[in-house]
């Protein structure tokens, strides 16, 4: 494969960013929108060509003896730290990368199209498209990274695009603070990532993924068994790197930025905070998967963090009022699902004897793919609702199924997919994940099945509260209606994908080592999860389909728990306390005070003392000749005296 297409895939969005960012002011909205959509459409086409060439051309560079290869299309030096540690910018084509190219460009294109309708009439329309292009560029750069440092570079760039897009409505103080929070929290996580890279590459002397993952035992050997505080250095490095992933993928306890990030425009939430950027953490773990597998402790850490987060987010999602926040917590929960799935996988041998070892990896990636589609669908659906009702709050909705049929049906498909009902895509990927978990340890399996049940429950709670329950009387003045075609087309397309994506032979395409993997349904696991999901849906139907007082009763039965969950278990308050009270109040302010009143005062003190002394001795320079003579004379006498003493 030539380098032209891959370079274009990266260059085109960046060029669009510059074009729309610098020239956008001079363009009309329509031109800017069409340019953005066309640019993204072209990028999508190119990405499809690259991905399909990779998967299906049969080129020995891509697939050798049935095993998919990692192929570096190009890798140019960007910055040489030392002779060995050289940062390169390149394009690594392998199964997960090709899959991500498809996911990112598809969703990005859908969001571009959708935004044309959704953002119509907003100020800064051109700027919005510029930022979308910037984000797409950064995200593509992240997934095609050939080395961990390139990933870090684009990791930061997606962070900043996310910041810019969350804060798009920058006149709203809430949007500003949300964007700030998102950036700082992920930045803090990136600090861990950076330290992890530093530690890891100190030993490996290379940034390159292929070098590290093709021979992970070497990496372990290179660290030479060094330990720090009881854990091996490699464990520390991998955990630190994972910290970066925790930040971007909103794992506990660094999840707090994601719900607030919903202040951004809804299509942005669909693109960045549901489908693509937030799975960067999962992608990172998948990228470094063989190295993670070398140190069990780090894998366990990934699993435990994922499991706790998944449950936490699912519980919180059951109590949120803002529909976008429900979806945000649902996203957190689903990403945690993928993390657990990766965490329980390992690099066993190839073949049926080791059937389950790599399953978690494959399933996690599969879920990443399907989740991206149906979560984007749900978010875009939520966008259509907000567009119609002008509120994020489900209490302002209810009974919308009659007014907005397209939105209703596509949203329902999304809910069914996420709940894991066959034949929608979510069922297949979730089933594979659960199978992998059960195989690793039944506790994980059971725990995550419970989370899956909660997922079905809160999604249908949301669905019923929006589309059933009771109609909002305001509809009389302002009749909600379906969105324009620019918004409906993406909804329908994504719904269609969600219906059929489950039948993609994913195991043939994406596995950790490239060897094909045959998917077959595990009947017991599948049945359990379907039953749990159906039960949860049934419960939701009972509680929320028609207006009744069950939810209130339920709420009153467990007031403490409900409030705690509603307030997201007070994580925000804890963070506020740490940042405002401790960092600002107990560190920054005292330091600033210290600087002014101790260090600066010392310097001023020197000046003051000098001044005092000069004032004190100024009297001697009075201009009084007689005094001078006296001083002079006594000085001469003193000299004489000293001479005399010396002569004695």
């Amino acid at each position: 494969m030539g380098v032209t297409l891959p370079i274009l895939i990266l260059a085109l969005p960046f060029f669009m960013f510059l074009l729309l960012g610098i020239g956008g002011v001079k363009m009309s909205r329509k031109v800017a929108g069409i340019l953005g959509i066309l640019g993204m459409g072209t990028t999508m086409t190119l990405a499809y060509i690259v991905a399909f060439t990779y998967f299906f051309s049969g080129d020995p560079a891509f697939i050798l003896d049935g095993v998919r290869q990692q192929f570096q299309v190009f890798d140019v030096t960007w910055l040489a730290f030392t002779e060995k540690l050289v940062v390169k910018i390149g394009f690594l084509l392998d199964p997960i990368c090709a899959m991500m190219l498809v996911v990112i460009t598809t969703i990005s294109f859908m969001v571009h199209l959708y935004s044309w309708g959704y953002m119509e009439g907003e100020r800064g329309f051109q700027r919005y498209y510029a930022f979308l292009s910037l984000f797409t560029f950064s995200m593509l750069g992240l997934v095609v990274a050939t080395n961990i440092f390139q990933m870090y570079i684009f990791w930061e760039l997606v962070g900043v695009s996310s910041f810019l897009l969350i804060g798009f409505f920058y006149r709203l103080p809430s949007a500003v603070s949300a964007s700030k929070k998102a950036f700082i929290v992920t930045r803090f996580a990136d600090l861990g990532f950076l330290l992890g890279i530093l530690t890891l590459t100190y030993f490996t002397d290379t940034f390159n993924f292929v070098d590290m993952t093709s021979n992970p035992m070497n990496v372990l050997a290179e660290t030479g068994g060094a330990t720090f505080m009881g854990a091996s250095v490699l464990t520390w490095a991998m955990v630190l790197i994972f910290t970066g992933g925790m930040g971007k993928s909103a794992m506990l306890p660094l999840h707090i930025w994601l719900p607030d990030a919903m202040e951004g425009p809804t299509p942005v939430s669909a693109l960045i905070h549901a489908a693509t950027m937030v799975v960067a953490g999962v992608y990172l773990v998948a990228r470094m998967f063989p190295v993670y597998c070398v140190v069990d402790a780090s894998m366990t850490f990934v699993t435990v963090v994922g499991a706790i987060t998944a449950f936490y987010a699912a519980v919180v999602a059951c109590t949120q009022i803002d529909i976008k926040r429900v979806l945000a917590f649902s996203t957190i929960s689903q990403i945690a699902f993928m993390m657990v799935s990766l965490g329980v996988a390992s690099t066993g041998g190839v073949g049926d004897g080791h059937h389950y070892t790599g399953l978690g990896y494959m399933a996690g990636m599969f879920h990443l793919f399907t989740h991206a589609m149906f979560k984007a669908l749900l978010f875009l659906g939520a966008g259509a609702l907000i567009h119609a009702v002008h509120s994020n709050d489900y209490t302002k909705m209810g009974g919308l199924r009659k007014y907005m049929p397209i939105t209703h049906w596509t949203f329902l498909i999304g809910c069914l997919a996420i709940a894991g009902i066959p034949p929608f895509s979510g069922f297949f990927s979730k089933d594979e994940m659960l199978a992998a978990m059960f195989n690793n340890n039944w506790i994980w399996g059971a725990w995550m099945t419970m989370v899956a049940g909660l997922t079905a429950f809160y999604m249908f709670r949301l669905y019923y509260l929006i589309f059933w329950w009771e109609e909002n009387p305001d509809y009389a003045h302002h009749k909600p209606h379906d969105a324009p075609w620019q918004m409906s087309v993406p909804l329908i397309f994504l719904a269609a994908v969600s219906c059929v994506a489950g039948f993609i032979p994913f195991g043939e395409l994406v596995t950790w080592n490239g060897a094909p993997y045959h998917i077959h349904l595990e009947a017991p696991v599948a049945c359990t999860s379907i039953i749990v999901a159906l039960a949860a849906i049934a419960l939701a139907t009972k509680m929320y389909m028609k207006k009744n007082d069950l939810p209130t009763k339920f709420k009153n039965a467990l007031p403490g728990l409900w409030t705690a969950a509603h307030r997201r278990f007070y994580w925000d308050e804890i963070y506020l306390f740490i940042t405002h009270k401790i960092i600002f109040g107990c560190i920054s302010k005292p330091i600033a005070w210290f600087d002014r009143h101790v260090i600066d005062a010392t310097m001023d003190g020197f000046a003051k003392v000098t001044q005092k002394v000069s004032f004190a001795i100024r009297g001697m320079q009075s201009g009084n000749v007689q005094a001078y003579v006296l001083w002079y004379f006594f000085g001469a006498l003193a000299l004489a005296f000293i001479t005399w003493i010396c002569l004695l």
Binding site: G623, N624, V625, Q626, V629, L630, F633
Partner: protein, 103 residues
């Protein structure tokens, strides 16, 4: 008993000490100038005395005294001119008053 070097030096020392006292304590600038003349004269005298008693063959001490007298005369003339000028300006020859020049 004959006059030797010490005899002549003692009055010179007294003149000098008196000159120092006068210069430090007097407030009138002309009086200070008078004290200054005393000091100068004591120095001149010393030149001559040492010349006479220690190096009778040469006359450098005397020559220097001559120069000193000439320069003292010049200095006094200028000083008095200045004093008179100050007196014109501030109406006093008091050394303390001359601080007014600063303002």
């Amino acid at each position: 008993m004959d006059l030797n070097i010490l005899w002549y030096l003692v009055p010179s020392v007294v003149m000098f000490a008196a000159g120092v006292y006068g210069f430090v304590t007097r407030k009138n600038m002309i009086a200070m100038l008078v004290s200054l003349e005393l000091i100068l004269n004591s120095a001149d005298l010393n030149f001559v005395i040492f010349n006479r008693f220690l190096f009778p063959d040469s006359m450098e001490g005397m020559v220097f005294s001559l120069f000193a007298i000439a320069i003292a005369a010049a200095e006094t003339a200028v000083a008095i001119a200045i004093i008179i000028n100050i007196y014109r300006a501030i109406g006093s020859t008091d050394i303390v008053e001359t601080n007014k020049m600063k303002h």
